[in-house]
């Protein structure tokens, strides 16, 4: 193997132990994180949203500020489904995911023949339109008041408890399933063709790639995933408000992705965790200045760490390996 390309996390040449690490940590948190499970669930929701953005923005190069539309669409769908049809969470989650995926596919078909700033504006515009619609459609969405939901037992077996322990495990399981899917997708021939489209659409057309269809497909998958994140948020907090559709959500997801590192999958884990923790801790210290910390962190990351905070992990990992190599000698 070429030494110029260092193996990085998010790469198939990395030992399985490293892959197990984030999941073991997340599981461990379940046992030691008493009192913080809702915060943990919140982080998992944001990881899923950021992961979905990584598929579209990181891997396929779809410049978007519109993922809030999918997040909110999923959230409202899950809430409305639970209120009017059936309140078992897994069913609601699947329904919300599929419907958001269809919504993303339809909007994607409209806008994915454009690129760059035009595409960015269109994603933003769709996001603003649906937010405004939700604001006006008070009878359906509750408008400013939002929707309060009562959820049933997960799979008819586990009840969402007051401390959010079941909700945390539920969110973790959902994230894990989506992560496996995302992992498979980015390493697949399909994922590689997306990587190619991001690098050079003319090349891909020349080898016979239906570029637009590929982009629509990943946009739909990414939208569905963001919809799941929104649905999870609605189900675990038992509330949906207009803030789930706010453009700010899209912006936060982009910040989390860049902070953690794009095109890495695990970057979403680090970015979302750091963001939510910094927000939580810094806001306790000084409620007005936590954005300064995030802003500073973001600046430092984009200026010094091309691969986001994941790069710090890569450096640590290489040190480890060198250490073990020495021990073996």
């Amino acid at each position: 193997m070429n030494t110029l390309q260092k193996p990085t996390l998010g790469d198939d040449r990395v030992s399985p132990l490293w892959h197990a690490l984030p999941w073991l940590l997340a599981l461990a948190f379940y046992f030691v994180g008493a009192g913080y499970h809702s915060l943990g669930t919140n982080i998992l929701v944001y990881i899923l949203l950021t992961l979905s953005l990584d598929l579209a923005l990181g891997y396929a190069g779809i410049i978007t500020l519109g993922h809030a539309a999918f997040f909110g669409f999923g959230a409202y769908t899950a809430a409305l489904f639970a209120m009017h049809v059936y309140n078992e969470p897994v069913t609601g989650l699947i329904v919300a995911t599929v419907l958001t995926g269809i919504f993303a596919a339809l909007t994607g078909m409209l806008i994915l023949h454009t690129q760059g700033v035009t595409l960015l504006m269109l994603t933003l515009a769709i996001s603003i339109l649906i937010a405004e619609w939700a604001n006006r459609a008070h009878d359906i969405t509750g408008g400013e008041d939002g929707l309060r939901v009562t959820m049933g037992y997960v799979l008819g077996l586990f009840r969402f408890d007051l401390w959010g322990r079941v909700a945390y495990l539920y969110a973790l399981a959902v994230l894990f399933v989506w992560f496996l899917a995302a992992w498979s997708i980015v390493h697949s021939p399909f994922g590689r063709s997306l990587d190619g489209i991001r690098q050079s659409p003319p090349r891909m057309r020349a080898i016979g790639t239906p570029v637009w269809w590929r982009l629509v497909a990943i946009y739909a998958i990414s939208g569905a995933m963001a919809g799941t994140a929104g649905a999870l948020s609605a189900q675990t907090t038992r509330f949906v408000g207009l803030n789930t559709l706010h453009v700010l959500i899209s912006g936060i997801a982009v910040v989390m992705l860049v902070l953690g590192g794009t095109k890495r999958l695990y970057g979403a884990f680090i970015g979302a965790t750091i963001y939510v923790l910094v927000q939580d801790i810094a806001a306790k210290v000084n409620p007005f200045y936590w954005m300064f910390v995030i802003g500073g962190l973001l600046m430092a990351t984009v200026m010094f760490l091309e691969g986001g905070l994941m790069e710090v992990l890569d450096i640590i990992r290489r040190r480890f390996r060198r250490l073990f190599a020495r021990v073996r000698l």
């Binding site: 590689r192 090349r203 790639t209």
Partner: protein, 252 residues
């Protein structure tokens, strides 16, 4: 039917950019195994013709048929799938991938497995294995693991050809395959061109007259979107009209 004897058949192909006619009723036939050179001064419409053939531009009038099938209204990717493949003059390679993956991605697309998202391990390995073979044929298998951005320009040009071949073309359009390659290395490109499969019909556009006249068995001269003349290389070289458009009117 006579039409099926031609791998590529172009009839009355025309395209205007506003008042500027960039292709004026072009007729051109390529038989299987043809080695046709397309030359002409800058702005003659050579690249426009390639774009019309590949579907990047829509013609205003005219017909194109590939192995007897009308393709003038087909999407670019459908033409590629039917065996009409081009190489690019400027670099469009996937520079962040390694050399092997660049070819494997093309093979996956050709075999229709580029939509697979799950359970693809075996198929992808087969793509990689075949990609390695294609690189060996062209003689750049030693750099299979290198990132394309680290590759010397000459090898990038060879990779371009390897990718085109991996698509199993029946008609291959070579858009300046030797452009930008240092003179000392251009013989490598020429050797590869000489060894291209005999049954592929090839249309080559090239500024380097040495390359065209060594490679092509017939040459078509394009001037201002119109075919000026055509013939075997020796006729073209001797044609005073061709010399005039190429070298200006000051030819003795």
């Amino acid at each position: 039917m006579n039409a099926s004897a031609n791998a590529l058949e172009i009839r009355g192909l025309s395209k205007n950019f506003g008042a500027l006619a960039v292709a004026q009723s072009i007729d051109l036939d390529l038989k299987p195994g043809a080695r046709m050179g397309l030359i002409g001064p800058n702005g003659a419409g050579k690249t426009t013709l390639i774009n019309l053939l590949t579907g990047m531009l829509a013609p205003d009038a005219g017909a194109i048929s590939l192995n007897g099938e009308a393709i003038a209204r087909m999407k670019p990717e459908d033409r590629v799938r039917r065996g009409l493949v081009r190489t690019h003059q400027i670099n469009t390679l996937l520079t962040e991938m390694n050399v092997l993956d660049n070819v494997a991605v093309a093979i996956a697309e050709r075999d229709g497995i580029a939509w697979r998202m799950f359970r693809y391990g075996g198929q992808w390995r087969a793509c990689l294995a075949e990609a390695d073979e294609r690189l060996r044929e062209i003689g750049i298998d030693a750099v299979a693991d290198r990132r394309v951005s680290e590759l010397p320009y000459g090898q990038q040009r060879l990779l371009e050809i390897a990718i085109a071949l991996a698509l199993r073309p029946r008609v291959l359009l070579l858009d300046e395959p030797a452009a930008g390659v240092p003179a000392a290395e251009s013989h490598v490109i020429h050797d590869v061109l000489e060894r291209l499969p005999k049954d592929i019909a090839i249309l080559i556009i090239e500024h380097d007259m040495d390359v065209v006249f060594r490679f092509a068995r017939e040459i078509t001269v394009l001037v201002q979107g119109r075919i000026l003349t055509r013939g075997v290389p020796s006729e073209i070289a001797a044609n005073p009209e061709v010399r005039a458009v190429y070298l200006g009117r000051s030819v003795k």
